[in-house]
Symmetry: D2
Subunit: 309 residues, 4 copies
């Protein structure tokens, strides 16, 4: 498989997957899912919006839930500095994508744009901060979500996405080849296997948003809570382990509006330039290891608000 040459010194520094903005029908049902069961904490709230963060996060929010018809508004990423934000804006504009400066609550200067797949993106350099609760054991409950880790988008423009993100300094950590074509790409900026993943299917739609939890037992603990709360139908796949891309133990859940959430307890680091991308071929795939994803895990995805109309 021909792969683009890595860009080690991009013109601007995107640093990490940062937050997701989603629409949900009922904020109290969402709060029960994200806070009571997943363990995220409320940084702020009003009548139409919840801003949530994980237990180790100092940033104001990694999940923003707005009242509305279920859809994903945007996935958010961080750049390092305000200067990077300007360079990024110029880059997207030069590439022919619409860019728009917007005011976003609790965030610094924010840019809205899209990528070749049509993913609605939001970039900023800064956000308000709140106390890190990493060592506040009294605030840990449910799955004890620590932080947002990555997104997975489905699109038929996987190759174009690879070229575009690679050009901005994203590193390809793993990829899947099917019949000689790129089927999935795992792209990272923060030194673990992924910040954003693109998988081949009609899109752009969001497959899932992934969060780190502390330990393996938290995957089992939170499943117990779903059953006790008579919500076992929201446990979609796992706990099990991927023995193909990602290689992590996982649990996939569905929130009350159908947004898919992945929880996982650990990931490997990949920083050095000699870390070559791992190639997987479809027949040797071991998603789930000793178990098999249900059909809905493959097929159900969430529309993006701006493309859903």
């Amino acid at each position: 498989m021909q792969l683009p040459k890595p860009v080690y010194k991009p013109k601007f520094m995107i640093t990490r997957a940062s937050h997701v903005v989603s629409r949900v029908r009922n904020l109290e049902a969402s709060r029960a899912f994200y806070c009571d069961l997943l363990g995220l904490v409320v940084s702020d709230e009003n009548a139409t919006t919840l801003w949530l963060r994980g237990l180790e996060e100092a940033c104001h929010h990694s999940v923003v839930l707005k009242l509305g018809e279920p859809a994903v508004e945007r996935v958010g990423m961080r750049v390092l500095t305000e200067e990077d934000l300007d360079l990024l804006q110029a880059h997207f504009a030069a590439a022919g994508f619409p860019t728009r400066w917007v005011e976003v609550a609790y965030q610094g200067r924010t840019l809205h744009t899209t990528d070749p797949a049509g993913t609605p993106l939001e970039f900023c350099a800064t956000m308000q901060t709140r106390a890190r609760l990493f060592a506040h054991a009294d605030r840990y409950h449910g799955a004890c979500v620590l932080r947002l880790d990555h997104f997975q988008v489905v699109t038929q423009k996987v190759r174009e996405s690879l070229e575009f993100y690679n050009g901005m300094g994203f590193r390809l950590s793993e990829y899947v080849v099917s019949n000689g074509n790129l089927d999935m790409i795992f792209l990272q900026r923060k030194g673990n296997p992924h910040d954003i993943v693109f998988a081949n299917s009609r899109g752009p739609r969001l497959h899932h948003c992934a969060f780190q939890v502390p330990e393996t037992h938290h995957l089992m603990d939170v499943c117990d809570l779903f059953v006790v709360g008579d919500k076992q139908g929201q446990v979609e796949f796992g706990p099990a382990r991927h023995f193909s891309p990602g290689l992590a133990r996982f649990l996939y859940l569905r929130d009350p509006d159908g947004h898919r959430i992945e929880l996982f307890p650990s990931h490997y680091h990949t920083v050095d330039i000699e870390d070559k991308p791992i190639e997987w071929k479809v027949p040797e795939f071991k998603i789930g290891g000793w178990t098999v994803p249900p059909d809905r895990w493959w097929n159900d995805t969430m529309s993006f608000a701006e493309t859903a109309s």
Copy 2:
């Protein structure tokens, strides 16, 4: 549901489920499964037999594997004293069951008999001992099996089994009712929910033999080992949790010959006479909690050697 009156002071003291004697086609394949993956240790072996025990067991063996066509020879239970053994022999003989005194390697005086379901049983009061490895952290590996806990037999004589075992001082901890009939009974002597379980299906056949492991993560750890060893097909059901009888987290595996093994990390104690049996009705069953057993978990069972001919 009409239940028999508990017998708190039986004439003889059966103390616990003790061991299983099974036939397997290949001792090295079985050793790889039971020792390398499950973590049992070899107490003794010869060309045709492996005697295994769990890491906390002082008794010489809880699993005996003999070369032969796959089948279960016997399930073994302990009585407290030699005197209990004689009283038990008299009881089974008076009830019309064949009884036979046999010589069994590493065991004291041993009685062979059967129960109303036709389960081939073996009773003894003593066994040779080996060092307990409970605190020998250097011997822990794989699933780190600590000890044998219970058996599940399928039979259409569930009611008869309840009457018979109840009469010998077994306590009913939980039971399942289906259309007004007894569908499953969980019977115990050692103070946790079960030593032997009978489930309604054509039998007598063995559904599974269960072992305790230390902690939840061991259920996930051993699944990883099955996949790494390209044996993921032997992981049948779980890790998950029962929210009906037993109430424990579990993992069901199949050994190389199809014998089903359950691993679980913890169980509640039930000793006091005010602990009434828990009744479950079929529609409220939550076997597996957030997941569902595969068909083969319901339907595949192992024949007993003496009844298989």
Copy 3:
């Protein structure tokens, strides 16, 4: 070391260590310790008393806390039936110990008496029940205490205690010899290493009361909570592991009034008559394994209310 002959068929059936009745200065401070931090649940309460049970316990209470000057009122044990209670009363009376029938809230007929060490004891056959919360994952928090396991009493009458308890069918699981004398004895009825332990020191006083928690991480989790609550001084010893009697991982805590609580995640079973008592000699002792108990763990013990005057 000369040991008494085990009594396998005692005249009456004591079944297990059951509950402890303690006096504390402030019920709210005690509730914060036992419920918020240890995870016990309130079965009932009034202005002067809290009745608590562990998450797997069906019995109404395993801990009773009464307003008063800090002391232990009684340690409670269960007999199997009402008939056993009468036989036990006769046995204690014949041995010259005072016996008294008392009314105790939520308990069946209850007997007060003392043993050779002077330990104030309470026996009953039945208690009211409450829902077992074993699988109620939503009720698990803090150390997630599952159930009471055993008591440790200090006395200079270790040999007399062994003879007396052995005569009632208690099995000696382990013992410590120091300069040819019995220094500690571990006695059990329920099939794990101990229901009651006697250690050589001026008494009778209570060293600690032990409870089982689900897994190793709960020992670390609850320590975090003590520090977050600025109560790190109540963490006395551990988490670590005993490599002498008991062989379990442990954590010793002190409640707000100085009552010592041990938490441990697992114990081995010991049921069969070939399980000989394990002898430990003082120099080979490894209490704490890689760590060493502080002086106060050895020396601070709690008075019994009736002997404190």
Copy 4:
């Protein structure tokens, strides 16, 4: 406390703490410690040297052990590209530090130099790779060390070290102030709290080298192994948790030659520029949380080979 202005866009990209080169008296004793107990794997070896890596590391080595009088030869860091290495060489030379290009087995072009504290440093951009064993559950044993994380150096030049490392783009994550002076600084490049720490004491000497393990139970598991192997004296401090800098659960061990190793299961991420350094003042220090470091943890440190003469 006056802190230097962060340098977000340094002239060259140091990426992470990478490896440590230590001298030990007996390679077999060291292999028993690092491989059998800690779980590192051997990438290569010869008669005088062991090259080890953690279970998730693709890089050839994170620990190099050479036969010799116990001392630390160097701590190693990575730069992103060969060009960064040249820029770094120029930077150190311009600052007046000796720089030397050396041949190092299994590494690309390597630079030796020192920092203001006198720490002997080694930088390279590339290293040979070996298979990542992250998902190879069959290779996990002992503490299951995943990867090297950071170093702690003692020096009286803490302020100078801060200025120098800050100038190279290291971010200050946390720091300790004692009587108005900088007592400890935690510096990072890879997005978690530290790659290198400087603490105020006579130096330069190495306090410890830290490695990540998967989960909390691994800290307890490996302590058991030290006791079973009669090496309990090498367990120095923990398992416990820091409630001041780092905020992680930890265990400190001493290798057979006295090199101190920290193991910890998790750390928070810190990437965004609004993540301000956390200031700790000496009296509010909670190193160890509910426990207290032994004197030797404060006072025993390891000499660097080049400064030891």
